[in-house]
């Protein structure tokens, strides 16, 4: 029985489709632990406080077994209607706000591993869950001491994976008194509407202040005093204070977008092309929250390695301390030191994407990883190799004439700006650009477009570096694309994983030169060894003046097409579409064909 209609595919097939997760490995969490792991209480508190009516829950595939139990618990404890989002479109790190919006939910709770990127349109609460292996804080401390035996002169940064967040603080607080130069990296949790940490920041400012001073300023004299005698000195305010205040501001802004319009503190930054044309959802809300995060709080905008905290007047700062912000983490560093002066101790799975990104962006760091499953390990940095691989892709982009921009996210703030920016620089560099929107990337989907030379994936930084070895054409990140297209940007060893920082207004933004002649880019390709050029003047003339009258030339030909035009590509194909074969085939009566979706045809009709 063929049960499919023309609009959706056979439900049986959908149900039987297998995911990457092995069902056998999944064990539901016992009810008594549910509250602890999924932080039910915190969520309930938050839902009640914000009087949310419809709440969407997003689980990664590996945690789906617990989804219904969590949903039940939440529903029992508050009046909100709870939905579980079924299908993640791009990756589990990504906030699936499109789905959440289908049911007009006013809050999304994201469980499990996350990229901590702020959502553009919907308040999001992150619940990290817990690493499946039990972490023994004592053991971690012990191993830490073994790894760094000399306590007084080792500079170490302590970082942790989100799944270890629940225990990281307690471990850090034990180690801080022992190691005067230990600096503890904080997760950059988007201070979304009343997320637990955000609330804290507002209410318990004083405590935090204390806390920060004892734990975040390595080598700070006050802390040395603290560790000596626990004596409180005359503390100067640490830098976080400004941050906390601002983030408080942001919280309000995000919750009540209409307020921000009057907020004179927020100046409009660059008006990026297309931002106001955003077709998704509440236009203003998106605008404003995006900008808010740009100006004040979103951490990656604070430049890599620069003393970002000294924006405000320097008097109130602790003189020896600065914040170093990198993708995931905010790391307090001594004023005159760089991150490369520190060793890194990382708690969490050694295969984590966040660790890989960290190592890619900081190739010179000496990293030790404590994996709860396998124990301590020194990570060999093969980053040089990785960077060379990336450089190969940059060269590929330079060679490419036709580029596909893949929209791999709908949720990450700034994706639209990024795509527009990619289009802009791509065109300026003489490439032909097509835009694609598709769900999870598969080699098959991309292979449908033979003529595309390379794809740029605008997506969450956490799964930018997808494995593309089976793809017919390579997929690159916006950063790589920009390195290849923007002649002003120079290749550096500091790899940028977050596309937002390369956009206009971002900290890594490099202006595209205005009077840039494409001829300068005619050079030897390192992939093919031939000369490549990006001079597509023919195409530009065609497209830009498509509505203008063309001057008839001597040969009275209708159009002239350049080497990259689609007409040229078509003419190179051996098959150009339906063949008429007039007179070559016998005349027959028309017969009834098949109907429905091709995947679910159950008989092959013999023509």
């Amino acid at each position: 029985m063929a049960s499919s209609s023309a609009y959706y595919s056979n439900e049986e097939a959908t149900i039987q489709r297998e995911t990457d997760v092995h069902v056998a490995d999944l064990v539901a969490t016992p009810a008594e632990k549910l509250n602890e792991i999924y932080e039910i209480e915190r969520c309930v508190k938050y839902i009640k406080e914000k009087k949310c009516k419809k709440v969407s829950l997003q689980f990664p595939d590996s945690l789906l077994v617990d989804a219904s139990n969590v949903a039940k618990q939440l529903e029992n404890n508050c009046d909100a209607k709870i939905y579980i989002l079924a299908d993640t479109s791009y990756g589990h790190c990504d906030i699936d706000e499109v789905n959440a919006k289908h049911i007009t939910s006013d809050l999304l709770i994201h469980y499990g591993e996350t990229s901590l990127t702020p959502s553009a349109t919907i308040p999001t609460l992150f619940v990290f869950g817990r690493h499946p292996s039990l972490i023994d804080a004592d053991k971690v401390c012990e191993i830490f001491r073994e790894t760094y035996p000399s306590k007084c002169d080792t500079r170490v940064v302590f970082l942790h994976h989100v799944s270890c967040d629940y225990i990281a603080d307690s471990i850090a607080s034990r180690l801080v008194p022992e190691y005067p130069y230990l600096s503890v990296g904080e997760l950059n949790i988007p201070k979304d509407p009343g997320g637990a940490k955000g609330l804290q920041a507002g209410e318990e400012e004083e405590n935090i202040l204390k806390d920060l001073c004892t734990k975040s300023c390595p080598g700070c004299p006050c802390r040395l005093e603290n560790t000596d005698k626990n004596k409180k000195g005359d503390l100067t305010r640490p830098t976080e204070l400004q941050g906390s205040k601002l983030s408080e501001n942001v919280i309000k802004i995000l919750v009540h977008p209409e307020q921000t319009k009057n907020d004179s503190n927020l100046t409009r930054i660059n008006n990026i092309d297309g931002i106001t044309n955003s077709s998704t959802a509440s236009k203003e809300g998106e605008d404003v929250s995006y900008e808010a995060s740009e100006t004040t709080e979103y951490p990656t905008n604070i430049s890599n390695g620069n003393n970002s905290a000294s924006k405000e007047d320097g008097d109130t700062h602790h003189p020896d301390c600065k914040d170093y912000v990198t993708g995931f983490y905010t790391i307090p560093l001594e004023f005159d030191k760089k991150l490369s002066d520190y060793s890194i101790f990382y708690l969490g799975s050694k295969n984590a994407e966040s660790l890989r990104n960290f190592m890619l962006t900081h190739p010179t760091c000496n990293v030790h990883v404590f994996d709860p499953e396998t124990g301590i390990e020194r990570m060999q940095s093969n980053t040089n190799r990785q960077l060379m691989k990336r450089y190969y892709l940059v060269e590929k982009v330079k060679d490419a004439k036709i580029v596909g921009i893949l929209c791999g996210t709908m949720g990450v703030a700034g994706y639209l700006e990024c795509m527009n920016y990619m289009k802009k620089i791509g065109k300026a560099a003489g490439k032909k650009i097509y835009t694609f929107i598709m769900g999870k990337l598969t080699p098959e989907k991309l292979a449908n477009f033979l003529e595309i030379d390379i794809y740029v994936l605008v997506a969450n930084p956490e799964h930018n570096n997808i494995d593309v070895s089976n793809f017919y054409r390579p997929v690159v990140t916006p950063y790589e694309f920009e390195v290849a297209c923007n002649p002003s940007r120079e290749w550096s060893e500091n790899y940028v994983t977050d596309f937002r920082t390369i956009l206009p207004g971002g900290t890594n933004f490099v202006e595209f030169p205005e009077n840039y002649s494409k001829d300068d880019e005619t050079t030897m390709s390192l992939i093919s060894g031939n000369i490549r050029t990006n001079n597509n003047s023919d195409i530009e003339n065609c497209t830009e003046n498509a509505d203008a009258l063309a001057i008839r030339n001597d040969k009275t030909s209708v159009a002239v097409f350049g080497p990259n035009s689609s007409a040229q590509k078509l003419s190179e194909r051996s098959w150009k579409g339906l063949e008429q074969k007039l007179g070559e085939t016998p005349v027959t009566k028309a017969t009834k064909g098949r109907s429905g979706l091709p995947v679910s045809y159950n008989e092959m009709i013999d023509f």
Binding site: M388, N448, F449, W491, M524, Y601
Partner: protein, 819 residues
């Protein structure tokens, strides 16, 4: 040295009949540069700098310009402009020699009088290329000084040695030029009595040709030099007593060459070596040699040197030979045009080249990129074959991949500056007419290594040079600090540009691979790179060679692969290409651009393929031109033409990266036997077909006894008898394979020829030096050969590891589906 002003230089450039363009072909020692120095110091043009203009220094000199006034001709056209191309001697650099040949008309072939073989293999290789390019040779028999001093060789013996050299040279010339039917390029054999063979010593700076001696004696014999010269070579004997010529040797007569050419030299030598003042005085007088300054006090060998150099100066002799016997561009372009030009032989450009017409359309061939002194840019150096190249001229730059009518590899640019590269100096010049060299600035970025510059819109390319060596030896270069990466890349780009034999590519693994002709070549280039071009600390890997993947049998089963949606099924088999077909494709005898029927006929005749099948070749791969074939042998499959492009694409992909270790495939013939397709077009698109084709070809490869091919050198070793045994051992240890060996007639030297895997050639030099200090050898890439099985697996795993792949070759079931 000759001093000229700009106008004078420009003036002689117009006299195209008096222009000679030549290079020196010599073996692997310093004689080539010695001879070049002799010529340059004799006749090199120094541009006189006009006030305020100082000649800019060029990085290296691609050519020397010489000016020579031929004595005994009319004043107006006795001045010859001789352009001498520089090229290094070692075989690893022979690409430079090849590149130089294209732009020359003649060659001075230097042959050692006393070397083990009459002509070294390397010289033979260059000579073969020269004749294939229709370049006229003249021969100089060098190192005659050792016959006079070190070895006491009799006059008749010396004649026999000379005669053997001349004869064997002519054998080579007629073999290489045997098929050349061109009327104009027929008489290229060399004869001493025609003046095309010179004798002498480059080291001591003297040389003579029979012409000089004939002129000397003409008066005495009361005949003309032209008549006498014939008597001075070959079996012409003169009896002094009877004053009778004879063609047979008797007791009383003597060979004229010995009597009139060698005898005076021998006698003068004896006088000088015995320090017989009276005799010396007599010889000085009769030869008209007067010594000056310190030379007067010299005795023995050094006096002999000075005497000979003053009596028979090498520069004059050689320049005379060059001016008289090498063709001018006007002569040579007539018969060379059809070899040089790819287009129709009667179009405007062809006519312009043929007539060497300075008013014709501009056709210029760029043969080399010469770095500017700051090494930032390059001058495109080449020869103008037709028309006149001018500063500011709007030209079309045709790269090697240009196809007339298309826009690929075509650039239209203005020439920034026309310059002359003379020795180590460059000089701006307004324009350069055909038959001359010119350097252009402002076009280097549009050309990789070579190319054609023209003003004619319909002009075709000049033929691309084919090199006798292939870049099979590789190194991977890595920066020590990753921020230096762009500098490395820039340096590598410059390296690749300035050396025609260096290839530089980035592999998918991110490795920067530099490929060159041999160990020495690459090592010296890497030194250049690290110290000069990139100037950054580098990590340079050990040398390795590139391999190719192939199959040895036909696929044992019909390979079936299903598309991701399971609705399309491909049926294919692979087998090895007929023997020699891969080389025919490499050589351009079988190409994708050929007419399908001609090609099918060729394949059927030469390679015993089925004509009908041969007509259904879908593609060559990788890169659309590689030595693997995809053939359609299906029968009446519906929609087949729709998926053809996708299948070809998948084939390119698979042949570029074979299944064993992602190396290129070579000599694999893939046949598409059947195809089952989904009835709906959307479900048989590229997405379904491309990856499936690749999987299916991988399955074919795995089921057809896959193998690896390794590059093999042809080695020629020359050694004394005592070292032969030890050299065998070295060869055996290095998996060498002996082809032949023989004893050099009349010497104790042995010639050994062998095949040696390139991979085993690293360190061969040291090895040979340790075993036998006296051995000489040279390698040339010869062919690909299948690697033994035990070695193969090792190489596969090393290569996979280097590329960052899983160490195991993927299993067949990943690619093979059940129907």
């Amino acid at each position: 040295m000759v001093n000229f002003t700009d106008d004078q230089i420009r003036g002689i450039m117009d006299k195209k009949a008096n222009i000679r363009i030549m290079s020196v072909i010599a073996g692997e020692d310093h004689e080539k540069s010695t001879l070049t120095d002799i010529l340059v110091s004799k006749a090199g043009i120094t541009a006189v700098s006009e006030a305020g203009i100082t000649a800019e220094k060029a990085g290296e000199s691609p050519a020397h310009s010489l000016y020579y006034e031929l004595p005994g001709t009319e004043k107006d056209d006795n001045g010859f402009l001789i352009n001498l191309i520089n090229s290094p001697g070692h075989v690893d650099f022979s690409s430079e020699v090849t590149a130089a040949l294209r732009v020359t008309d003649g060659a001075l072939v230097v042959v050692d009088y006393n070397s083990g073989r009459p002509i070294s293999d390397q010289t033979v290789t260059a000579l073969r290329q020269a004749i294939a390019e229709r370049i006229k040779p003249i021969v100089f028999i060098n190192k005659m000084d050792s016959a006079l001093s070190q070895q006491q060789v009799g006059k008749e013996d010396l004649y026999q040695i000379f005669n053997r050299i001349v004869e064997s040279t002519n054998v080579f010339i007629s073999t290489f030029g045997g098929s050349d039917e061109t009327q104009a390029f027929r008489d290229i054999q060399v004869f001493p009595n025609k003046g095309t063979v010179g004798f002498g010593s480059g080291l001591q700076g003297w040389a003579f040709s029979l012409k000089q001696f004939a002129e000397m004696y003409a008066e005495k014999f009361q005949t003309t030099a032209e008549k006498l010269i014939d008597k001075l070579w070959g079996d012409n004997f003169f009896d002094i007593g009877t004053k009778m010529w004879s063609e047979t040797k008797s007791d009383t007569n003597e060979r004229a060459f010995c009597l009139y050419v060698l005898d005076p030299i021998y006698k003068a030598r004896d006088a000088i070596m015995n320090n017989n003042k009276q005799e010396i005085e007599k010889w000085m007088k009769s030869t008209g040699v007067t010594l000056k300054g310190d030379d007067k006090d010299k005795t023995g060998v050094s006096l002999m040197e000075v005497f000979m150099r003053t009596w028979l100066p090498a520069g004059d002799t050689l320049l005379q030979m060059i001016a008289i016997h090498l063709p001018s561009p006007v002569t040579s372009q007539k018969y060379r045009m059809e070899l040089l030009y790819e287009g129709p032989k009667d179009d405007e450009a062809a006519t312009g080249i043929k007539n060497c017409d300075p008013k014709g359309p501009l056709v210029m061939y760029i043969s080399k990129m010469v770095p500017t002194s700051d090494k930032e840019k390059f001058y495109a150096f080449g020869r103008v074959f037709s028309g006149t190249v001018k500063t500011g001229q709007e030209v079309r730059i045709l790269g090697p991949n240009y196809v007339p009518g298309k826009k690929e590899d075509l650039y239209m640019k203005r020439i920034e500056r026309t310059i002359l590269l003379m020795g180590h100096h460059i000089k701006p010049i307004e324009d350069v007419p055909c038959g001359n060299f010119a350097g252009l600035s402002g076009v280097d970025q549009y050309l990789v290594k070579t190319g054609t510059i023209t003003t004619l819109a319909t002009a075709y390319n000049m033929k691309v040079i084919k090199f006798s060596v292939s870049p099979v030896v590789r190194v991977a270069v890595e920066v020590k600090k990753s921020e230096d990466l762009p500098k490395l890349v820039e340096g590598l780009k410059r390296l690749a540009k300035s050396d025609p034999m260096v290839q530089f590519i980035i592999e998918e693994s991110g490795e920067h691979i530099v490929a060159g002709a041999g160990e020495l070549h690459l090592k010296s280039r890497m030194k250049d790179l690290e110290e000069d071009l990139a100037n950054i600390p580098l990590k340079i890997s050990d040398l390795f060679v590139s391999y190719r993947e192939t199959v040895t049998k036909e696929s044992g089963v019909m390979c079936i692969s299903k598309s991701p949606n399971k609705h399309n099924i491909l049926y294919m088999r692979a087998k090895a290409c007929p023997e020699g077909l891969d080389e025919a494709i490499d050589d351009g005898d079988v190409t994708p651009r050929q007419n399908i029927k001609t090609r099918a006929g060729l394949l059927a005749d030469k390679f015993d393929m089925d004509v009908n099948e041969a007509r259904n070749i879908w593609g060559f791969g990788p890169g659309g031109t590689g030595p693997n074939l995809l053939m359609d042998v299906t029968n009446g499959v519906q929609y087949l033409n729709e998926i053809r492009d996708s299948v070809v694409t998948g084939f390119q992909w698979a042949t570029e990266k074979g299944v064993l270790c992602e190396e290129n495939m070579r000599g694999v013939l893939v046949k598409v036997h059947d195809v089952t397709l989904h009835a709906d077009a959307i479900h048989r698109g590229g997405a379904q077909i491309i990856p499936t084709t690749r999987r299916c070809i991988y399955a074919c490869q795995l089921t057809a006894s896959p193998a690896l091919l390794e590059p093999i050198y042809w080695v020629a070793i020359k050694c004394p008898e005592a070292a032969v045994g030890r050299i065998y051992i070295v060869l055996k240890r290095r998996r060498g394979q002996l082809i032949e060996y023989d004893r050099q007639p009349g010497t104790s030297w042995y010639n050994i020829k062998a095949y040696l895997p390139v991979n085993e050639s690293f360190g061969f030099t040291e090895d040979l030096r340790n075993t036998s200090g006296q051995a000489f050898y040279h390698f040339v890439f010869d062919h690909w050969s299948i690697l033994l099985e035990n070695k193969r697996d090792e190489i596969i795993s090393i290569t996979r590891k280097r590329k960052g792949l899983s160490e195991e070759v993927p299993k067949l079931d990943q690619y093979l589906d059940t129907p």
